[in-house]
Symmetry: C2
Subunit: 768 residues, 2 copies
């Protein structure tokens, strides 16, 4: 854990120039707008430690798989988030010296990310090797209002000199991924142009042939007037720039406004993309920086209005939760059903892919609770559109007749991951995709989704489960062999309770969905069944499996067993571990981790979280008490589930402890890996910890229930919830809870079992 940044309710503040954690700061201060994103790299040249990162949503590269020992069934490539052409460059040559903070004395360095307005500011005083000083105030944002535009306001003042200075303002597609498997560059040039004041480079990805046009225009202003400059155009392979020579006068500020446009062939015809790029640039120039910014702020205002959580009395916690919400909102806006939520969002390239089971298991509830219904719906449709690929993936592994296995990691629906124990065995992801359909419908009431998309996905997944189990003559039950559960610190186990449970649940839910669609829309039902050659015999088999599935348990302890062999392990507690053994994944050899009892992330408990209605509180308690002390939470996805269950069980201190582990994970670099990017998907877990944990929000029979408590460290907290065309505001203080129906039809909610029906603008309150 590090304390790199100041605590503040709305801002992330870095004070002083700290090259040794520059990469951490670059991640934390990243900007995005759902369409494009940018790490907090400097506009100037920088020869110090940095991870350059510009990203364009949906644009990826299939990097050839690298393994030590090939296993049959591995995918041929790993689809990677691409480091895209850079649009931020504003480089200075002052008397033969590059303005490069790694080569200067740097004073008064300050970097601020204002989360309320989505603005990154940076200021510093740099002393060049020859003693010349400049004072810089730079600001930038990725417009939330016009999501193909980025804008920079770069103000520079020569403190102690007057001289002619050369400024290079450019777009650069000659960029590389740090995690390229074979050190290749992934971009080829398509076209480029550079005229005075405008440069555009169109580049295409190798193999996937995405085109991205990156353009820029700029203005240089002094005292409100356009500054006179001599301009030289620069054109190199995959690069276009303007070299602008201007006169610096001591004490006189010069302001550079740089407008960038980033367009992808996902949204524009390739043959028109450069032309469209020019139009976007024209629009940006015409609108101007201040107006662009005002429009951008307005969108943020609306976002925060939708999804802010306020915490009174604990600035670190307030900053933490806002940071999580801010990053989630930057990463995925839900407007494009082709997109999804990458594990690092627009903050880094690690892990590649864009879609893990994180989306369904962690992110979906966040978007359900904070955005219009279509946002969550688009996340489901995304998987619907990948169904054919999931069936193909199943086929590749030997499954037949339309059995769908969704990939562990994907961008375009094809599997990317290449580690057999995960790729082929961590199949519970399939269950999470089915569960998300249930979760979405439960929350929204949008049963129609089943007819349109849901049932077909459920059938594909159920077909997979039915083939993946086998009858054990020995147990006289169905078993599921060779799986990896959510706890990746066990591999290739038999009868992972969670996987067996979610598989059985899927089979059952699919049968219910069949009945629903059959009744609701018989003709659509029949069309679907014919198309996918579904026969009712399949559902009969599913019924048999549901009724005869094996679930490992320990009846003496009254707990479910994570897998068949769990009780043969030496049962220890995390508190028995020496500090120098943590984190286990960096200190212990893999086999030692595997045969230890220590759990990376919620596994049985993940099931009890998903399906809590099906278990009494004592069962949850017994399992929590057994598994929690063995859980090391070395996955960012783990603490939130424990926090929610702890809250449910009244373990308030534990709930708060787990909350803290998730809320400030990246801000305080808990896992020593923020430099690679932020843990975007697990950020939704922070939100869940508050809403489902502290506030105890649950949905029962289509109505919202709250069973809140407040951590003793806090004075109050409040949040807003979107629910079935209503907006609800909840506030919890040390002594009472209150609800306001901000908008929408009258709504019945339940506070600790007491029902209240609210009308619009009505507030109700109740003692805690």
């Amino acid at each position: 854990m590090k304390e790199c940044f100041k605590h503040h309710p709305w801002q992330i503040i870095e004070e002083g120039f700290n090259p040794h954690y520059n990469k951490i700061a670059e991640s934390v201060f990243s900007l995005g707008n759902g369409r494009m994103g940018q790490r907090a790299n400097f506009e100037e040249a920088y020869s110090g430690e940095t991870l350059q990162g510009s990203y364009v949503a949906g644009v990826y590269y299939p990097d050839k798989t690298r393994v030590g020992w090939w296993k049959n069934g591995y995918p041929e490539y790993f689809a990677k988030v691409l480091n895209a052409p850079s649009w931020i460059g504003i480089k200075f040559n002052i008397a033969g010296q590059s303005l490069d903070l790694a080569q200067c004395r740097v004073d008064e360095f300050k970097r601020i990310l204002d989360m309320q307005t989505g603005l990154l500011s940076r200021s510093f005083k740099a002393t060049l090797p020859d003693g010349k000083q400049v004072h810089v105030h730079a600001q930038r944002f990725c417009s939330m209002a016009k999501d193909e535009i980025g804008a920079i306001r770069y103000a520079i003042t020569p403190v102690n000199f007057s001289d002619s200075v050369t400024i290079t303002i450019d777009v650069d597609a000659d960029v590389q991924n740090m995690d390229s498997n074979y050190d290749e560059k992934f971009w080829d040039e398509v076209s480029k142009s550079a005229v005075e004041g405008e440069c555009i480079v169109t580049a295409q990805t190798k193999k996937t042939f995405f085109h991205v046009a990156t353009g820029m225009r700029y203005r240089i202003v002094q005292g409100g007037d356009e500054l006179k400059a001599s301009v030289k155009t620069l054109l190199r392979e995959k690069y276009a720039g303007n070299e602008v020579t201007v006169n610096f006068t001591a004490g006189k500020e010069i302001v550079i406004y740089k407008y960038a446009a980033v367009l992808s062939s996902e949204n524009h015809p390739k043959e028109k993309i450069a032309e469209h790029c020019r139009q976007v640039l024209d629009d940006a120039m015409a609108t101007g920086y201040d107006q662009l910014y005002a429009d951008h702020v307005k969108v943020w205002e609306h976002k925060w209005n939708e999804c802010d959580i306020t915490i009174d009395g604990d600035v670190a916690a307030q900053q933490g939760i806002r940071f999580n919400i801010f990053q989630l909102s930057q990463t995925y806006t839900g407007e494009d059903e082709r997109l999804n939520i990458g594990p690092k969002g627009f903050t880094g390239e690690k892990y590649g892919g864009s879609t893990y089971w994180d989306t369904e298991a962690y992110c979906l509830p966040f978007y359900l609770g904070t955005a219009e219904q279509k946002v969550a719906r688009n996340l489901l449709v995304y998987r619907y559109k990948h169904l054919a690929k999931a069936i193909e993936n199943g086929k590749k592994l030997g499954f037949t007749d339309g059995a769908a296995l969704y990939p562990m990691v994907t961008i375009n629906g094809e599997e990317c991951h290449n580690e057999w124990e995960i790729t082929f065995e961590e199949i519970h992801r399939n269950g999470a995709i089915a569960y998300a359909i249930y979760d979405y419908i439960r929350y929204t009431g949008d049963q129609e989704y089943l007819v349109e998309y849901g049932l077909e996905v459920l059938i594909g997944i159920s077909r997979f489960w039915a083939q993946r189990v086998n009858w054990s003559d020995d147990k006289k039950k169905y078993v599921m062999l060779g799986v990896t559960g959510p706890n990746e610190y066990e591999n290739n186990v038999n009868n992972n309770w969670y996987t067996n449970y979610i598989a059985t649940w899927t089979l059952q839910y699919t049968r219910e969905a069949l009945d629903y669609v059959r009744g609701k829309n018989p003709s659509a039902f029949q069309l679907l069944l014919d198309r996918i050659q579904f026969s009712d015999k399949e559902a009969q088999v599913w019924k048999h499996i549901t009724e005869n599935m094996y679930f490992p348990q320990d009846s003496s302890r009254g707990i479910f067993l994570q897998q068949d062999g769990f009780l043969d392990k030496q049962l220890m507690k995390v508190t028995d571990l020496r500090p120098e053994d943590r984190p286990l994944n960096q200190k212990w050899s893999w086999d030692r981790i595997l045969r230890s009892c220590f759990i990376k992330q919620a596994d049985v408990l993940q099931g009890l979280y998903f399906f809590e209605d099906q278990f009494d509180i004592d069962t949850v308690k017994r399992n929590f008490d057994f598994y929690e002390p063995m859980t090391v939470h070395e996955s960012s996805l783990s603490p939130c589930v424990h926090s929610i269950l702890a809250a449910k069980l009244g373990y308030e201190e534990k709930a708060y402890e787990m909350y803290l582990r998730t809320a400030r994970l990246d801000l305080d670099d808990y896992n020593n890996d923020t430099e690679d990017g932020c843990h975007i998907t697990s950020m939704a877990g922070t939100w869940l910890s508050v809403i489902k944990g502290f506030a105890g929000m649950r949905l029962k029979n289509g109505e919202l229930h709250f069973n809140p408590f407040i951590p003793r460290q806090w004075k109050s907290y409040s949040f807003r919830i979107e629910f079935r065309q209503r907006v609800l505001k909840i506030k919890v203080t040390g002594s009472r809870m209150e609800a306001l129906l901000v908008s929408g039809e009258p709504l019945t909610i339940h506070f600790k079992g007491t029902s209240h029906t609210l009308n619009e603008n009505q507030v109700i309150e109740q003692p805690l």
Copy 2:
């Protein structure tokens, strides 16, 4: 299965030029002498498909590990067999055309490996693009008598032209490994020299800094006289040659004698290695080709005398067994205790490393039965010398107090392998190393070995087992979790019966060894105990483990279970598989293989083979009948064990079927991979199938027992056995068995339970 080669009792014969299986032939026709080896690459230039391979025993390169996903504990490199400088090159330029069989019409091509004399011959008629024809007879051998010398006799006759021809005779260290992880070259130049008639290149391996001096001298003779030639010396980076221009006269044969010397810094001081190389070359020139060859043949004569097996009535079987014995004898002579038996010997670079558990489990009995005692002893001492590294390896994985885990694959004692389920979990290899000590002592009676080396190794291994098991509160037994047994088609299983058994056996045997050494040599005993800080408490723990180990079994079937979850699998037979599903490892995804019941190689049966005295015949039969039908034998190490057990159980057809799978594996390219090299270590299994299988040889209380049968396809078979300073010859025909004591003190042997005491030169016989 392919039929590339003609059947012949002593020769491998390829007729006709078949570029599409040239790489297979290059493997099969490989030559070696325990010190150096050479694939059957052509002396001339060849632009067709080829895998160039020259090898020098003990010289390796640590290639940086390549993995998809790093796991803690992986080794940083994989020590690889190196493709060493080439000494065979004799290249012709005839009227501006290269003599390159890929560019010529080739007639009368014939390649013969004479196994009796270790000579590779090749003849062909080549028509160059311009119509010029040459007739070539080439021969070469790697001298078994002087193991740093290779010799070539290359006779070429211009058929239809006379012209001046340029011949390049060279040594070339600018060579590469095909399996380099990062496409690096592994050799750097140290020095080189080229004068008329002699070239020497000294190269060193990167990182490991082995020096290898490769030199050559030559004579060119026509009609018995030295041919006049003009010579130009060639020197390039890592290369030295002579460009010799001679006059070819139509119909007149020219013979080139090329003598090569290959010296390694393992045997020569680096600063003298080039000088020593020159001396070896001088010696070779002085001795001359014919005498070198005569000396070489004499050693082979002696070898065959020691270890030949004759089979009458089945030429394919005769050729097969001799090919196996020939390759084993070329690979390892046992004269250097630093060396071991690589999986591909000197026939290819695949799999790297030089030492797998194959050595102890398969090869040791071959060398015990066919060579002087010191040869097998050196194989054991090799592991003794790696004990410190094995302890270090254990430490790396979290074991303490001198616990030794021998590597899965090694050259210098360090682990090379990087696949967690094997590297960290296929730990039964440790048991095979302990078993080999027992096996060696049982066969030789050399109990003294325990005092000198054996006990210390046994203690290291036992310490590992004692830490690797854990007490299961649930089972009230010791269990061993997370292992991979010999059947690599199951991974990370619990309580692999074989591993549990050999671990428990090791603990027991080590305790017996402690008692023996304590009684035999108390002072050496105490010294050892002090040095390795052994306390008797450890042995007490071992006793407790031995007495309380858990062994999975199915009492209703009366069988041992391969692992805890085996009976949950869907039990099928290999005969249930569709032909298009075979081999499984090329057709099924890895997870499907893992959760199937199909077995790659003997696992429970491997234990019943090692420890047969501890199980009654019915137990062996029940287990064989259960597991054999599920075994796909997709490891070359599998069929021999099944063959031996089948023979024991009287399943004669099965024993013969399994024998055939091993004997002609490479000759007929059963597994479609001979082009990568031959399966050297499994060749010992072929020998075992005959000796322990068909002839039923066993050792009981220090005496040899035979319980032979003869496959109905054969008329007779015979073999020689070295046993405690005696040489015994056994012959089995359709009606009788006979034994001759070739040399040594009187010996009591048992034929089907009947005892015979033989004196030297005495023959006894008995009806079958």
